[in-house]
Amino acid sequence: MSKQTPAHLLSRIALHAVLLTVGAIFVLPFAWSIGTSLKPLRDLFVLQPRLIPSEPRWENYADVLNAVPFIQFYLNTILVTAARVIGQVFLASMAAFAFARLRFPGRDLLFFLLLSALMIPEQVLIIPRYILMRELGWLDTYQGLVVPLLFSAFGTFLLRQFFLTIPNDFQEAATLEGANPFQIYWQIYLPLARPALTAFGFLVLLWSWNELLWALIVTNRTEMQVLSVGIALFQGEQFTNTAVLLAAANMATIPILIVFLFFQRQLIEGISLSGLK
């Protein structure tokens, strides 16, 4: 291969130039958001906006906490997300194991029935679910935020595909040892499926942390609201100051970015997995 020809070098430089330009466009909104969140009021409504504040005003972040129960929003979001992640991963992996590795009458029919859920937009189901929550008295509760969203057909499908790649021998050997299917699932298949579980878990975490529509509908009291709803509703109400609003938006995003830094590799692999059937 002719690696170091001038033409090759030139094309590399051009490629970097393009990627850096596009990269700058991708980063700019973050930079602007951070810059603006630190601006004093007098910097906001100027006709020549600057990225860097004339003098950083860190109090904007404290103002968020004073304007709304932001800590409570954080706690609600963390709690609801943790419950959804654990619940979805557990229920989906258990069903996926049964669909992949156990024989029972009607298995394939039930599996295809479950898959049909993938085709149904959530918006069709949201009003009946809301009625159900109202009848159960679950509006403005954690179980109302969590339970209807615990059942992931997508996760069952994804994890079943993964379980099918695990050799059958493990199961046969364990059965001879006298292990029951739940033990085989719990002690053999779950540990072997860790990459897929982590990837799926992170996808659930990302979706749950950012979810707006259901949380908007099922909660009304301020104490029960999650970050997305809190920011959406207080936009233009409490947060008349854009700098404070952006400080809130940044605070909502940072935890996800931190988790991503830790799980970057698994997540990227997981997304790749989900695209390859």
Partner: protein, 324 residues
């Protein structure tokens, strides 16, 4: 299925039976008995998932279909109105506007999303340095909460004080009103959707590219095929299953846009929206105007649209998708 219910009745007993006893029993049991035990475990393990599915999908779906034939408004009990709601769609200009907005948003969103993400994936699939760095940069917007994304971009688009119009003004270009004008709001929303979605598709394209066997390119090089020929005759065709998957997902995603529109295009301190989409309209009708019956009807239109488009794409895929 009577057999199933009989087996299900035994499930609770099975669950508490001591494991050791069961194992000993199975040692003696014939293959028939073993098959039955396995079936019981199967139903037990899929049980929670199927129960949730039955309540929150199947039951909800049936209730939703029923509601779409009623005038339910939360306060009074629902009355059967037959096809009135569906007839009303034909004369409801607000619905038609939402439908039109969704359609004009979907086309550029899907096309540009596929084009940009493919271009980025191809650029990053070469032996270029700092690949991981670039990949992270393009991916990070995917992680950002749409509410936060909308908040930031709303400020970027601000007609008087935002940096975008400031930059356009410096370049001597016209300064559009962006989100406060329904015509430019479309472009503004598409740009944000691309910014926050391209990174995801890029990752999936990258995985697809890495699945193309190297020897295909080597063979093509031996035959004297240039870069462009290789791209057209190897990369594009072998990538079509990935492209197909991403197009299907992007269409569904476009039809369901809500968060960004809710944040960005609602006029401050009112519930007027400059760019309502179908899902925004469903939300508005159901939870602000409390026309639950009618909102469900609109949701069913959305369901039917999604099914139709997906079905259509699966039909058309034979024409352009190559499975190896």
């Amino acid at each position: 299925m009577p057999g199933v219910s009989r087996q299900l009745a035994g499930v609770s007993v099975m669950a508490i039976a001591p494991v050791a006893n069961e194992a000993r029993a199975r040692g003696r049991a014939g293959p028939r008995r073993q098959a039955r035990t396995q079936a019981l475990w199967g139903y037990l393990l899929i049980g929670p998932m199927m129960l949730g599915f039955a309540v929150f999908f199947l039951f909800a779906l049936i209730v939703s279909l029923g509601l779409s034939f009623t005038d339910w408004n939360v306060l009074a009990s629902p009355n059967w109105v037959g096809l009135d709601n569906y007839a009303r769609l034909l004369s409801d200009t607000a619905f038609q506007q939402a439908l039109r907005n969704t359609a004009v948003l979907s086309v550029p969103h899907v096309v540009l999303r596929i084009a940009f993400s493919l271009a980025l994936a191809i650029a990053l699939n070469s032996q270029i340095r700092f690949r991981a760095f670039y990949r992270t940069i393009f991916f990070i917007p995917v992680l950002t909460m749409p509410v936060a994304t909308g908040t930031v971009w709303k400020w970027l688009y601000d007609p008087s004080y935002g940096p975008i119009n400031y930059a356009l003004g410096q370049l001597g270009l016209p300064r559009p009103a962006w989100l406060s004008n329904p015509n430019t709001a479309l472009m503004a929303v598409v740009i944000v959707l691309l910014w926050s979605g391209v990174g995801y598709d890029m990752i999936i394209f990258l995985a697809g590219l890495q699945n193309i066997p190297r020897d295909y390119y080597e063979a093509a090089q031996l035959d004297g095929a240039g870069r462009w020929r290789q791209f057209r005759d190897i990369t594009l065709p072998l990538l079509t299953p990935t492209t197909f998957f991403l197009v299907v997902v992007a269409v569904i995603h476009s039809l369901q846009v809500f968060d960004l529109v809710y944040i960005m295009t609602e006029v401050e301190h009112t519930t007027t929206n400059q760019f309502p989409t179908i899902v925004y309209y469903i939300y508005d009708e159901a939870f602000r105007n409390f026309r639950m019956g009618y909102a469900t009807t609109v949701a069913w239109v959305l369901l039917i649209l999604i099914l139709l488009f997906t079905l259509l794409q699966f039909r058309l895929q034979r024409r352009w998708v190559h499975y190896t």
